[in-house]
């Protein structure tokens, strides 16, 4: 049975989430978020287990996952560097920070370092335009990024 793909801790979290909604399907995205926090991404096995928990077809789980940019179907690095390159951040030179991170880590935007520590992505507005250029690393925001600050941060995250 595919539920084996989910840890006991995760199954307990899922029960708590299901109790919050009048319809189980509404818990789908919170459940997927919880799975991703546990495993780093949503694997095909996880998809199948979640579909079983909610008694919905796997394809509906995948349809939802593929719509949302924060849900990952492949593993990412330990640190996900998400550089905003939308209008306010770009006006203040966001691209230079992205270029610095790519050069320093030897990867392109969208890629993960071979040691699986860093993934670089450019993202749309993070809702932090007063911090432009802004960067989100996992859940944390970093403000006023410059090439020098990218260097400093990468040293710290080593």
């Amino acid at each position: 049975m595919s539920l084996g793909a989910l840890s006991d801790k995760l199954l307990a979290t899922i029960s708590e989430l299901l109790a919050k909604y009048p319809q189980p399907r509404a818990a789908l995205i919170p459940i997927l978020n919880a799975c991703q926090r546990e495993y780093g991404f949503v694997s095909a096995e996880t998809e199948a287990a979640v579909a079983e928990v909610l008694s919905i077809p796997v394809i509906e789980v995948r349809e939802t996952i593929s719509f949302y940019s924060l849900l990952l179907r492949k593993p990412a690095g330990k640190y996900r560097l998400q550089f905003c390159t939308n209008i306010s951040c770009s006006l203040l030179g966001a691209e230079e920070s992205v270029a610095t991170a790519c050069r320093r880590l030897g990867i392109q935007e969208g890629e993960t370092t071979p040691d699986k520590r860093f993934t670089i992505t450019t993202v749309e507005c993070l809702g932090a335009c007063e911090m432009s250029p802004s960067l989100q690393v996992n859940d944390d925001y970093y403000a006023n990024m410059t090439p020098d600050k990218v260097d400093e941060l990468l040293d710290k995250l080593k």
């Binding site: 995205i29 939802t64 306010s88 507005c125 809702g127 007063e130 859940d139």
Partner: protein
């Protein structure tokens, strides 16, 4: 001027319920639930001229009055804390610095519309801020401000904080409802409006974070006080998010109807390095751009409509003379292409075409016909889609080219940008 929503910003102590209670916190909710009827609450909000502050500017009291009184179905309040319009970051500040203000507003709003369950929908990136609101909610449950028989009344209320997973479209209210139901965020056709058929098919009111956070002040101080703070038909204060080429980017709480000039030059410190102003986007990236000579406009719904733009989410994006406006528009256009949900053909295809043409112009490969084709493409999207994302993609393209055609022409002629360096 008196600050209502931002008076506790940047004070980490202010988040605690003890601090909030010392300042008269939750007294407005107690007043509403113990001495007011739901209808008198709605009337008070209507008279205050509070309008939706997420972007559409719909009168809040009027929206609440659409909830059917005789429906046997459960009713829901959904707080839209998705905040994704580029240039907007005010709701994040409220969640981070004054979460109890939002929670108290929720109690009053739910009482007014007869909802016993509220969902706060916020974007996945705001994980930390959702955590702050959750901690405040736990404290408030501890004081029995949520749960059963609140303030000794017969009113029960539970709140769930729901994190999305990255999709701008989920800030559109019906896409948000789909997402909250666990589906991809495809906007619904209206009518039926959510007040009649909303979340799980039940009557639902969707209000923005800032809108709901104004409710306690109105109940505490009265609708007249609130209406007098703003401009005609636009009550109270507004949170103006200012970003781009200004000396002091940030959120400024000022009366509704403050002029754009005052916001930029008096509060945000003016243009950085004292450069010349080139262009301003007044209400989030979807609102039509303004020229420097237009910034004496008042930031309210009617005044901005009169100059062909929108107050929207009041996200002010300032661009100085060094800005390449072709690049600025290319970035905005690429954003709406990326975020188009793909449901309506004009938006799905049109945003792609506009983005590709703009990229070509940015790379010096533009042709003269582009400047006629772009507004024409935009015109074929405008009004032809289920939700306003199509308009949001079209309006910047039309306004940038109408107002700054010379710069686009110069790009095509010279194959490069001629902005001041």
């Amino acid at each position: 001027m008196e600050k209502i929503l931002s008076k506790n910003f940047f004070n980490p102590q202010a988040r605690s319920i003890a601090f909030y209670l010392k300042d008269g916190g939750y007294e407005a909710a107690r007043k509403a639930l113990t001495v007011m009827t739901p209808q008198t609450v709605i009337d008070e909000i209507t008279r205050s001229n509070l309008r939706g502050l997420g972007g559409a500017g719909f009168p809040t009291g009027k929206k609440w009055s659409f909830i059917p009184k005789d429906s046997p179905k459960p009713k829901y309040l959904v707080v839209n804390s998705d905040e994704s319009e580029p240039g907007t970051f005010k709701d994040r500040h409220i969640m981070e610095w004054d979460p109890h203000l939002l929670l108290e507003g929720i109690i009053i709003a739910c009482y007014a519309i007869g909802a016993h369950r509220c969902f706060i929908y916020t974007r996945g990136e705001y994980y930390r801020f959702a955590g702050i609101v959750q901690a405040a909610l736990d404290e408030a449950y501890g004081e029995r401000f949520f749960g059963k028989k609140i303030f000794g009344s017969e009113f029960d209320l539970d709140v769930v904080i729901h994190l999305g997973a990255g999709a701008y479209i989920c800030g559109e209210e019906t896409a948000l409802l789909e997402s909250l139901e666990g589906k991809r965020g495809w906007p619904r056709l209206k009518p039926p409006f959510p007040a009649i058929v909303g979340l799980f098919g039940c009557p639902t009111i969707i209000n923005n974070t800032e809108t709901i956070s104004h409710v306690p002040g109105i109940i505490r101080n009265g609708s007249e006080w609130f209406a007098d703070l703003g401009s005609p038909k636009n009550g109270g204060t507004r949170m103006y998010s200012v970003s781009g080429h200004v000396k002091k980017p940030g959120v400024y709480e000022l009366p509704a109807g403050t002029t754009l000039r005052e916001i930029i030059y008096t509060h945000a410190g003016g243009v950085r390095n004292d450069r010349k102003l080139r262009a301003v986007i007044p209400g989030g990236s979807s609102s039509p751009v303004l020229k420097p000579e237009e910034i004496d406009v008042k930031m309210d719904v009617e005044s901005l409509a009169a100059v062909g733009s929108m107050v929207g989410s009041a996200g002010v994006i300032v661009m100085d003379e060094t800005t390449c406006l072709v690049k600025a528009l290319a970035i905005i256009s690429k954003f709406y292409q990326h975020e188009s949900c793909g449901q309506c053909t004009p938006c799905r295809e049109g945003t792609g075409w506009m983005t590709r043409i703009l990229r070509r112009n940015l790379e010096g490969q533009g042709v003269r016909e582009d400047l006629d084709n772009l507004p024409r493409l935009a015109g074929n999207i405008l009004g032809n889609t289920i939700c306003p994302l199509g308009d949001a993609a079209a309006l910047p393209v039309q306004s940038f080219i109408a107002k700054f055609r010379d710069e686009f022409e110069s790009h095509i002629r010279n194959g490069t940008c001629t902005a001041v360096r």
